[in-house]
Symmetry: C2
């Protein structure tokens, strides 16, 4: 049995302002309208021998992840390990391997993949996975090496040694963390170095044994974490009690660089970690002057620019080599060569506790989304979208009253003692202090405009009485 | 008597996306929050001998102009000549001179000024006007010449000749339209050339006589236009009937370049026509790297950039010599050296009938403003602000119903047969087909959120029954 393990962690601060702490890289839309997470799921779900996909992510991203998976057409079941605190890849893989071994037996083959990489050629990928799976069954820890096209200094490199069998796999001589340019150029010239794609394949048994040998503390804490978590009901939420004390260590450093039976399989598929806006730009067809536009732009004497804009018109005049990325509340204008430095902006914004570092105007909730349209003294206007069958919590606000106008769909509303159905073009008023609940009993999205009034309009003025998403 | 005549015309397409057909250059806010029109009014209203200011503008801009004037603290009265069709400066000045002569006698001194120029030093300006006024009384047509600081190719030049008296004024030898760079450099080297500031001073009698001599057709049509318009009630709306047939000719070409008794007074005040974003940038203090920010920006390794943004955070990385101007629906990113080419973008947008060429999200009306917050299938949400004492027309929509939620102030509403007062945090519903009216009976702004629902939500679905602004 092959069990893909999707590791959905990375914030992707180099893809700010689209990627933010509340909507990380796996969830942002590529120019084709699909997310990296969705693509990762599709890519793994259609591999031979896969009937379940295990996702390791933060508890905060559970509902968003589930929404993405539900919107993706696959025939696999989903299981989740939800971290309440992040502790790097080694502890996460340790928990995943123990959990998988308990559920499917220790011979289950794990294919560990980051959620936020892009892989182009599915057939070639499947073939490489088949090679890796065969080797994993024979006790190998398998990595995937991408043929370098440039002396990239942002990736790790794998030096391949003797061939193993006739599959093109090689024994790993060593791993090298992000080298300097000179070293990277030497590696390319030497020819036996490949980029570490961050994808791993091994049986639960093999990786558990390796963890026991090289980082026994990580394995012990993983065992305790699972023992103290309820692993019978889905999703499995990992308690912090033990997990928080786990060493913060990557699987590369904990195991890969130390284990002896490590192989590298040639990853001949197109691969990108979409590590910056420059990489994102590559996904868009360029015009004859090298400009790539995802959105609406009017360019005059522009060359080699990437323009991304959701809803605003962008006019560019006499500009070269620029990245222009526009969102409702923040705009990035950067020189192409400085794409990596976007993360310094995010760091600075976080220092200033600027909302644009972490939050979007549009906020995802288990039941749907809301977008703040306008705020003023004593009022706030939101557009609220509730998924079919979804329900907000039964709640109450001390300081604000709310007007709800249904603009499409049908709403089932609890308003104090009353329960009523509200159709498009009808409204209701919830006075402060009234218990209320909003539900979408229909088959289409429910869209309402909420006008809040009150002296205090913070999101924390909420008392939840009942919630189907466990948020009381 | 000195009568300032403010000519409020120019679209200012080089200041797009802030300046648009519905909110032209005189009305856009400078970095100090005030408009060029407001500054022009203040500058002229405090001159000696001024008790009235006459404004010549398009009828479309009347209410907006009046709002600006009402918000400006001056002791002068306002009169207006409203064009329904634009016909350049000579016909406009002809009408203004005839109108002023009829009202104040032909010896009234006119100080004709564009509404969209910036003048720095009021004292020096006042002094220059005093010199000009004295000469105007003696029959001179007076122009104002700005000492050139650079060989500007975007301005007209005036060659000064023999001195007149001891005021520093000179007889004009000739006018030169925008020269090429080589010529402009020569002019600066020669020293007797100044920039034409576009400000003129003459008596009504002098200019009427000059118009009669050089462009009799313009004067005749101006007379007919006034005769066929109701010039007794304010504002005076100029009928199209005759005015439309007037030659489209500038006062420079019609009179200045031909008349013999033309003088140029030294305009030693700081002067700028704010002709582009580069000029606008100059109004903002620069940091040590030459960056000027009007709004919120986070700059990393940026040099000589101008950033203007109303509400969005702008992050700039590794950018040089850029103009970044952000508005709710359109963004401009241009190289500083291409500031003049913004007009080509506007031209292109107009060709495409793009709304961003002409309209803003926020729309000015005689009673206040509305801003479209969100639009979707069958719904539109507006934030409507009604000035104290103002009233929308009594109206009806065939295809849409409207929910009104008052978020601040108090509303007097006619809804079908009912008339009611609605306080903050209360709402009402106007079904399609109901006659309704919204009025602000209070002393503070009234702000309401309007949620429109219906199959058709175009602004043209309106039947007006009564309107205090004459729009029925």
């Amino acid at each position: 049995m092959l069990l893909p393990v999707i590791m959905s962690g990375g914030a992707g601060s180099r893809l700010w302002p689209v990627s933010r702490e509340t909507l990380t890289k796996p969830f942002i839309e590529l120019p084709d309208g699909r997310t990296l997470l969705q693509k990762t799921l599709q890519r793994t779900a259609c591999l031979d021998g896969v009937s379940e996909v295990l996702t390791v992510t933060n508890k905060e991203y559970y509902f968003l992840t589930r929404d993405v998976y539900e919107a993706t057409d696959t025939n696999v079941s989903h299981s989740y390990l939800l971290e309440t605190i992040g502790r790097n890849t080694a502890p996460a893989i340790a928990v995943a391997a123990l959990h998988a071994a308990a559920k499917h037996g220790e011979d289950v083959v794990l294919l560990v993949m980051p959620a936020d990489h892009l892989i182009g050629n599915q057939k070639v990928f499947s073939k490489a996975v088949t090679v890796a799976t065969d080797m994993a069954v024979n006790g190998w820890i398998v990595t995937f090496g991408v043929e370098p096209s440039t002396p990239e200094t942002g990736y790790g490199y794998i030096e391949g040694g003797e061939s193993i069998g006739d599959s093109g796999a090689r024994r790993v001589v060593r791993f090298v963390e992000k080298p300097d340019l000179e070293t990277a150029e030497k590696y390319i010239a030497l020819g036996r170095f490949t980029w570490n794609a961050g994808i791993f394949c091994f049986t639960a048994k093999t990786i558990i044994a390796a963890l026991a040998e090289y980082v026994p503390e990580v394995l012990e804490i993983a065992k305790k974490t699972l023992a103290s978590s309820d692993s019978k009901t889905e999703p499995v939420v990992l308690g912090e009690e033990h997990f928080a004390s786990s060493p913060d260590i990557s699987i590369d450093y904990a195991v890969m660089e130390r284990a002896s039976k490590v192989a590298v399989v040639a990853a001949d598929f197109d691969w990108s970690d979409i590590g910056s806006w420059s990489a994102m730009a590559e996904l868009v067809q360029s015009d004859e002057r090298g400009n790539r536009v995802n959105g609406e732009a009017l360019l005059v004497d522009a060359n080699n620019c990437y323009i991304q804009s959701d809803s605003r018109l962008v006019a560019g005049i006499g500009i070269d080599n620029l990245l222009v990325v526009d969102t409702p509340d923040a705009l990035l204008v950067a020189h192409h060569s400085r794409a990596q430095d976007v993360k310094t902006v995010v760091k600075q914004l976080k220092l200033e506790s600027h909302s644009a570092a972490n939050y979007h105007r549009k906020v995802h909730r288990p039941w749907g989304t809301y977008t703040v349209l306008e705020e003023g003294a004593n009022f706030k206007i939101k557009c609220i979208k509730v998924k079919p069958g979804a329900s907000l919590s039964l709640q109450m606000h001390h300081h604000r009253s709310e007007h709800w106008v249904v603009v499409s769909g049908i709403a089932k509303v609890v308003n104090g003692e009353r329960e009523l159905l509200i159709n498009a073009n009808e409204s209701t008023y919830i006075p402060a202090g009234h218990k209320h609940r909003l539900e979408n009993p229909g088959l289409l999205d429910l869209v309402i405009i909420e006008v809040q009034s009150g002296e205090y309009l913070g999101e924390d003025d909420i008392v939840r009485f009942q919630d189907i998403y466990g948020r009381t």
